[in-house]
Subunit: 522 residues, 2 copies
Amino acid sequence: MAQAVHLSRLTPISFLERSAAAFPARLAIVDGERRLTWGALRERVRRLAVALQESGLEKGDRVAFLAPNTTELLEAHYGVPAAGGVLVAINTRLTADEVAYILSHSGARALVADGSLAHLADGAPVERVLTCGEDGDYEQFLASASDGEPEDRLESEDDTISINYTSGTTGRPKGVMYTYRGAYLNALAEAVHARLDSRSVYLWTLPMFHCNGWCFTWAVTAVGATHVCLRKVDPPLVWTLIEDERVTHLNGAPTVLVMLTSDSAAHRLERRVLVTTAGAPPPPAVIERTEALGFEINHVYGLTETYGPITICEWNPAWDELDVGERARLKARQGLCMLTADPVRVVDSELNDVPADGKTMGEVVMRGNNVMKGYFGDEAATAEAFRGGWFHSGDLAVMHSDGYVDLRDRAKDIIISGGENISTIEVERALVRHRDVLEAAVVAIPDEKWGERPKAFVTLRPGATITADELLAFSRETLAAFKVPSEVEFGELPKTSTGKIKKYELRERERARRAQLTSSPA
Amino acid sequence: MAQAVHLSRLTPISFLERSAAAFPARLAIVDGERRLTWGALRERVRRLAVALQESGLEKGDRVAFLAPNTTELLEAHYGVPAAGGVLVAINTRLTADEVAYILSHSGARALVADGSLAHLADGAPVERVLTCGEDGDYEQFLASASDGEPEDRLESEDDTISINYTSGTTGRPKGVMYTYRGAYLNALAEAVHARLDSRSVYLWTLPMFHCNGWCFTWAVTAVGATHVCLRKVDPPLVWTLIEDERVTHLNGAPTVLVMLTSDSAAHRLERRVLVTTAGAPPPPAVIERTEALGFEINHVYGLTETYGPITICEWNPAWDELDVGERARLKARQGLCMLTADPVRVVDSELNDVPADGKTMGEVVMRGNNVMKGYFGDEAATAEAFRGGWFHSGDLAVMHSDGYVDLRDRAKDIIISGGENISTIEVERALVRHRDVLEAAVVAIPDEKWGERPKAFVTLRPGATITADELLAFSRETLAAFKVPSEVEFGELPKTSTGKIKKYELRERERARRAQLTSSPA
């Protein structure tokens, strides 16, 4: 009987097959002037897979892509696995050295680079480089494919479909392996939570190279919605596309929301747009300002190691009655596991759950189908990350009595002052509540008496005139005295390509400044 | 590394766990006067599972339920598998003998019967009978459970979660085995296609004993929507509940739509209700009348062996422009595979695809995650059904050029007249187009010259005065002459408990009548 009954393996490639069958003539991709139907996209994907196999790609070989959010990078999410390869989508804002490290570490056989990034592909340690764009050879490569379907090389749904390198804010980036099964299940959960359907239009404000676009590369395709590509988060262009393409969904870190809502093109939406946000805990004030324009926010949380989002702050309709600030505060919590994920836990160093009291901090740990298979070529780091059978996020949080996780800090960001923990997120939120403040980042600075003290780096809105003392006085209204920053510095904040504030750079800058002060003659 | 990384098995029990965590105080079930929150439902399920284990249930033991759509039957979909048992939900309109056959064939150790059906449980061949309702002992059984969680006995996601007996219109019913994995994946697909979310309200017009309610027992729970129980499709009550409980979704065979739309309480809806319909190909006229009241129809198709629905007629927005009749005709097609299913095929007797010409008939065959594991205790029937590696539906269809399947007949219903195939569905549709016709069923009658000829059994709307000749003349407008029925008989149509017309009974009745005519003195 086992032989009689066929169980299909879970693979997101089936999503493209289905949408190409169901909606062959409907719009799959808008990419600048270019518009492709599902039928045309499927044909390009078939050609990519066949051409890769015909050029000698073998099962499990890595194929790297270095591109902004383009048609080519989207089709790579289907064509590379359809050929039996493993997709390595590389962060486009890395240096040539960093790119070379990832190519070399992943052992990629080929690199496909967008024309705009050709300089990063020079001398890349791969057998073959293909370039997209007018003068490139990628289209020729697709055209070289024979007729017929690629050979199916999927052996198990637990095969690796992609490797996503961590941003490597500390140390060398690690290669996070996703499986076909995990990608499939996470994509379905994203589709349900974002209420995607075949009439949705998804704008690519989130980089596809970031956790495979939180699996929206696959989720949007699963329902046959339209992908609208975007090379760069250019706020006026985003506002134009929202209207012109009738966008219904977009994703991004809270800083993307700040950019959009503070842009001069910002206006109240005529139709609701669902924004899924993650990447850093969104300050309640940012949620409030964004929703005031007619966006609806799904606040989710995750890491590269969890295929992007793994929790969602599910909204309780009873909260509709609360005032706007309280609503935003509740929505700023990270919430609970998404539909296809296992429940996440907040634990002490012995892997015991901390009390669900909203006060006791512990580390967020996860496991299940929406957690990576491991770090590529690094069994030691994998074993360390999964000690006790749970993936250790390095994020510190409290568990509320309603079972919602609320992040307090990255383990490495928390400030310990006079033996007390100070959550930098809490201090940042207290500052961003002020309407003159656009963004804030708080880091620890050394202090002789207290060990560490908080220092705030703050970006003000254009035209704001508030002084540091006034801002500190304002923060005292909601913060315990020992949490009020000892110093405030105004200016731009350094950010990663995915919009996360580089706190380690602020700490570095601070350390360098202090070293200089100490060594300078008094 | 394999040990470090935990892959969770797919089980729909996780949907209840998640909704109980996310929405503990929100309404899970409305069942007459009774209202239960997700927290309360989870506690009842825990008690059921623990009580079953404490009463000696072992892994894989069958537990039968005989109940209309009640809280108890819904909780059985979680409590029985949570105990490691296999749920056998029995059709409530069977005779005591038929129920006894299923109990005996499935080897059920226990039977839980609704008080209203206690007469069917008398002398049931099981170790223990529990009865729900005021004088029953089911609540006491739940109350007997110890504290703590049931022992987790799931070994593999391919374990059997339920056995659903076919209606057995010919021969003895067969026990169709569903797996945890199949139930989970089908439920997710249903949730996406029906656009269910946590604010949805689902009315149980479809029996839960029928393919586990097409897996909506699990799908509605997955998103934390509200289940509204219903003991019987009582059209005025349905109309009342739609308004009072703010119903957003319901499912049913086309006959349910006929009952609802022809009821005197029928009126234009204030809010759209999504109706998922299957069980028989809906005549375009029925679709048209239903949508005119503000329902939106998802037309799906499947069998008990495919967890209920496996295809959906995905709507192409280009069709919005067509006239209402043409739209209904397009929507009456069975369409293509649902999101988590494998593509279905229409094949000849050698398993070759028939041409996608909308004309060549073949058999619909399926395989994949949304197809049963096999028939319980019947390897021969399983092997026969899966010959060539594909499940043979026994349904005849054509494949259109756009890849949509369009059912023509059950293999056993098709009429062969003078060497030509006549699709009884096509003839029925031609009759139901007439506004005086409520429903029609066409079957073969023996004919000396042609071998077989179509005979129509027709139910007219109240007050209709059309004659048989007038109806035949009307049908000639759209049917080829050889397809026009040779006889018409007006009256009620015999139906199964799930609303399917019992064509075999019409054929039997006809055979008996003819035998009598032949043997009677002239």
